[in-house]
Amino acid sequence: MKEDVNLLNYNAMTTGNEINYTGSGVWSPSQKFVFRICFVFFLIMIIPTDAKYYQKWVTTDWKHLHIRDMGSLSGSSFKIIEVATKRPGGNDTGGAPEKKQYDYVIYPETGEYGAWSYINWFIALVLGVAGAFIWTFLDRKSKNYNQLYYFLEVLVSYAMIVRLQGLTFSKIFPSQMPELALTQLNTPFGDFVAQKLYWIQFSFVHNFERYAGYAELVIMVTLFFRPTRAIGAALSIAMIGVIALANHTYDGGIHLLASFYIVGGAFVLWRYLPPIWNLIVHEKNTALKIVYYPFSRPWEKWFRIAFKSFIFLFFFVVSAYLHWDNYRNDSYKVPQNPGLADARGLYTVADFKVNDTVVPYSPVDSLRWQDVTLEKWSTLSFTVFNTFDIHGEAGRGKQYKDIDRTYESAGTGGGRRHFYYEIDSINKILTLKNKNKVYEKQVLQLHYERPNENEILLNGNNEYGQPISMVLIKRPKQYLVYQDRSRKNTWTP
């Protein structure tokens, strides 16, 4: 066996124990320079510079902690220039409903999805290079940055954990992709935007969604502990990196968040790669030559334990609890006000009248309603043969009001309209409001009667103020998407 001479320097060869590599080596000038760039770059990308973020830790209502607060407490991304679009409802990239204002806003042709969206990363990199020059000028003594390297690796790893927890636990407790709405089941495949189809592919296979959540939890846990950090970094790139690419190809909108795991994961993994290559490809005996900060003083030891415990308790335990609680009681993308009792279903529209004149069924009529659906919650949807301005929101965000919770309606077109409604059960009146914010002024008032459990009579006005009336007849419908391929399945309209 050929022995690697360098390794004779380490006592580990004889004892076989963990190496206490002192890291007294000298870095080359270029290594030092690249490290300085990385250091400044990641610091800018990770440490929130916004005073409001720190205020949050004081102003948050700790007694009624909500998953919304978890979002705003898990940091803010570095952003000087807002990359936006002018189309209605664009700029919906999820997160908390309240939006910050920026001094600099650009409107590139590719919207928020193209290369321009990385402009703030580019600025951070430019600042990193500038910072590295200044640092090089000021610091001529340092031989290496082994200890800083360790702390930067920890910082990047923890930033990845903290930014991932919301997505992890809202999959483990399936609320990121909640159950399909009936209106979605009755919308043609071609009338969804690609982003929507990417999301709702999880919305009828919740065990698969949980599985994805547990995979993300594995990333969080492996990044959390020093011995498994290399594995966590590799998994970050392999999984969240792929999600980043998917977000680019589907115009999903959270590519910046996901891409951070490619850059961060690569940074953390970087120094493990040469030893891995040496061991596996060159088949040479190898030791990691990595310096860990010893945490030898008591206060350092206690600080480390306290910090780690805090991260674990807050971003693992509390976050998991809050997401579980949200999933059980107020799944954040799903409207919560109950709809008409026992009315959930797909309805055929009969006896449709406008201005007291019967409009017979026609698939090419711009006023006559078709395929009405009533959800468990208070949303009514129908199709007409007409075109409408599409509101570009993605149906994300942790909205407060039911009317703003648009997971069911965002990203669909094809003449399908969605209305939030309020029930006046004494006067038997439904007040409907259009969920598409382009048409938010449209309000319909419909008097309802329910002669039997399968029929609903509606009578009132449509979006254009014309008097309308109709009979809704419930249609028994089994959806193939919930059926088993190995059985005999029959489609019915």
Partner: protein, 409 residues
């Protein structure tokens, strides 16, 4: 070892440039009971136990070089997994495995698909993503071809096929057993270096590298000399054949061209059944509601008549357009017909592609009025006469319009 495999290879079409045969060879898996069933695994386990017992008896008096046997087992697994990964990588790199949804499928409600079809279509609407997935698979397969990079390829594929296995279960995609088989192959290959990686990365100890170097006898050297170029030729040929299939006639959709200029979605404005006009109806079993002409020779009709779903996966290799049922399998809502076209006599002969409704046929004549109207007359298999006036609807699809610009539709 399973004779049915050879029969299948010999009896079915080779495909252009042998694409079908090469792909099947790359993905042989024993099918003693049924293809892609765990029943086979029981039989194989039985054979393995018997074999282990027998080997024990035979080699009682001479010691076997297990290190070398293990080496050759890994060689076998490496190449087996490599050709599987490369073949599946290629049909994603050239998006054949999950082709873009047909127009008829775009006009089908989301709830009217079986889960596997939703999964396929959702991947298919983002070809760059499918190409990327294929690239990962292909690259990992290539890494397996060299012993030194095997661990990396196996590690990636263990995660990749593990994920394919999980989605096969979630969406019942039909390849549960095969994807688990590939996962196990990848895990077995990865396990060789796993303790060393654990020792290095997790235990962070000084790690002794693999020191086994196989010594080959003359026979083995010859085997290597012959097998290597053969595998290289196989892979290159498969690549050329897959590319050729993609650029000429993707195997999941029919190859024959459809009625020229007819591609589109049509409202059925007037419909007569046995000379009786039936007004628009979403409930009448005979009334055609709308019609889609594909670019290839398929036409789909929406009616209210129940459909017994074709539970196939539409992934068989065939040159018969009628049997290429990817577009009509696992989906309800529309009745799919392959048609033969006689442009001289303006005749269309329709046959339902769904094997549960194969009796349904139409003998039709067509007349084109301008570019947007088609008049259809004829009879079905029971001699009921049909008359339909089809009006093309030029509509936009949100799927194509995307999220980047203002859209009205």
């Amino acid at each position: 070892m399973d004779y049915k495999f050879y029969l299948d290879i010999l009896q079915s079409p080779a495909g252009d440039k042998g694409f079908y045969i090469l792909f099947k060879l790359a993905n042989y898996t024993p099918g003693f009971v049924a293809r892609n069933s765990f029943g086979n695994w029981l039989i194989i386990a039985g054979i393995a136990f018997a074999g282990a017992f027998l080997l024990e008896k035979i080699t009682r008096f001479k010691s076997l070089d297990y290190d070398k046997w293990y080496y050759w087992l890994r060689v076998l697994l490496r190449y087996r997994l490599a050709v599987a990964a490369i073949s599946y990588g290629l049909i994603k790199l050239f998006p054949l495995q999950m082709p873009y949804p047909s127009l008829g499928n775009l006009h089908t409600a989301y709830g009217d698909f079986l889960p596997w079809k939703i999964y396929f279509h959702t991947t298919a609407i983002a070809p760059p993503f499918e190409i990327f997935l294929g690239g990962v698979e292909l690259l990992s397969g290539l890494l397996l071809l060299s012993r030194k990079t095997t661990t990396f390829g196996a590690g990636i594929l263990a995660g990749y096929y593990g994920n394919v296995f999980a989605s096969n279960i979630a969406y019942s995609m039909g390849y549960e057993a095969y994807s688990l088989q590939l996962t196990i192959f990848a895990v077995v290959l990865f396990v060789y270096d796993a303790p060393r990686l654990y020792n290095l990365l997790v235990a962070r100890k000084y790690t002794i590298a693999n020191s086994y170097r196989p010594v080959f006898n003359t026979k083995e050297k010859w085997l290597k000399k012959i097998a290597r170029p053969l595998i290289a030729i196989f892979i290159i040929w498969l690549g050329v054949a897959a590319y050729h299939n993609y650029t000429t006639a993707p195997y999941k959709y029919p190859a024959a061209k459809g009625l020229p200029g007819a591609y589109g979605f049509y409202n059925v404005r007037i419909f007569k059944w046995n000379n009786q006009e039936i007004p628009y109806s979403a409930t009448d079993l005979n009334r055609w509601q709308n019609v889609v002409f594909e670019k290839w020779a398929t036409l789909s009709i929406k009616t209210a008549k129940p459909i017994v779903i074709d539970n196939g996966l539409g992934d068989q290799f065939t040159n018969n357009d009628h049997e290429r049922n990817f577009e009509s399998a696992g989906v309800g809502g529309r009745r799919y017909f392959s048609y033969s076209l006689d442009t001289i006599h303006h005749q269309l002969s329709l046959a339902n592609k769904n094997k549960n409704h194969k009796e349904e046929t139409f003998q039709l004549t067509y007349r084109l009025l301008g570019s947007d109207t088609i008049i259809i007359k004829g009879v079905n298999q029971q001699n009921d006469s049909i008359y339909a006036e089809l009006n093309k609807i030029n509509r936009k699809y949100l799927l194509f319009e995307g999220r980047r610009k203002p859209v009205k539709l």
